[in-house]
Symmetry: C2
Subunit: 222 residues, 2 copies
Amino acid sequence: MGSTKAASGTAVDTVPEPKYWQLRTVLVRALDTEFRTGEVLPNERDLSSRFGVARATLRQALDQLELEGRLVRRRGIGTLVAAPAWACRWPRPPTTTSALPGQLAGRRRRLPSGDRGGRDRARPPRRHRRPPGAPAADHARHGHRHRDLYVPDSVVPHVPGAFIKHSLAESSRARSVLRTLQRLELDGESRAVELGVAEDEAARLLERPPGIPVLVVTTSYR
Amino acid sequence: MGSTKAASGTAVDTVPEPKYWQLRTVLVRALDTEFRTGEVLPNERDLSSRFGVARATLRQALDQLELEGRLVRRRGIGTLVAAPAWACRWPRPPTTTSALPGQLAGRRRRLPSGDRGGRDRARPPRRHRRPPGAPAADHARHGHRHRDLYVPDSVVPHVPGAFIKHSLAESSRARSVLRTLQRLELDGESRAVELGVAEDEAARLLERPPGIPVLVVTTSYR
DNA sequence: TAGTGGTCTAGACCACGAT
DNA sequence: TCGTGGTCTAGACCACTAC
């Protein structure tokens, strides 16, 4: 991103992509090609000056990547490259450790050893930010899958009317599926499903920073 | 929050809560007591000066509330109070429109009418940020439920080993449940479950801003 | 003590929607 | 045109971790 497209004219798109999003794109690429899980990124001040943006802007990009689970930030330590995802059964994308226009070459300390740092001490606040228009799903990298789906429509295969075979077009059933789930009664309990936010413990379990949105199922006995 | 505790000494807690989180707390209370769904909050510049913080700090609080689904922000329009949650089957908390030390009284325009503005135009970027230590779950307000749980452990009641009756203590099964789900094969398909980020369309379906983390199920045919 | 991420400020300019 | 949220800057101080 550097200085390109600083001039006004060129752009045809209504609104040029925000810097922090371009930055995210660059970083994603770097993560895919130049870093391995557990490695430490250059510090924020370094990166921001390297990319010619304010630290806050860089942090916006990092925030998003952390939200996406690609980074883990530790106060006093640094920003680490997180494990790819939640355990994927298929051969992961080659994790091309190969070459490419590398822009981020830097020190690459590996994580000491004991990872899974699920400490109990109350985590201090963190921030999250978000993404723009509609960048292609990063998951597209993997082998040729058929379709991606979101929480409700897919995680509940046994709920009537929620069977697989969905395509993006069909995913509008997501809501109706959730609704079905909400109407569900099992073992004499009744439950409600709503969107909530992961507290500390949940966040730890999900290996995501606290505050991320999750589906919350509340079970009620009478 | 205003100016209180500006002096240093008083605090006993190791790390004083960040301003933006205190602010969030105040706003949550205000949302619960002074506003109704669809109402418009005072604008950010107003609020920030009212609370004596920088706009960026106020925005951090609003970001979190948006992430939690309590607010919706519309460029050029304002910040609206969002619907409580994803449809709760139980009587909602009285939505106490009653009184309390109201701090936010202001203009309360109601939403015009046609809500559900699921436009197709690419939404411009938004930001998200996050929460601190471990504030009590807001859901605790409702009637006496038994337990809250997170995505994997609850939304998949039929997966072996994923039956209800969970308590917070048990919720450590969340991960193993997900793992089970990942091993699932239905209709000759195989699938992978991972944490991802909602793109535009998904975000629209879930009525959340793009970029929120979601469970992504990828189905593969061979 | 030095380096890192986390928070906060006070300003600025922009694109959007309504008027 | 004007008010709103969205982005960005350049700086500051803090708490945490390692040395």
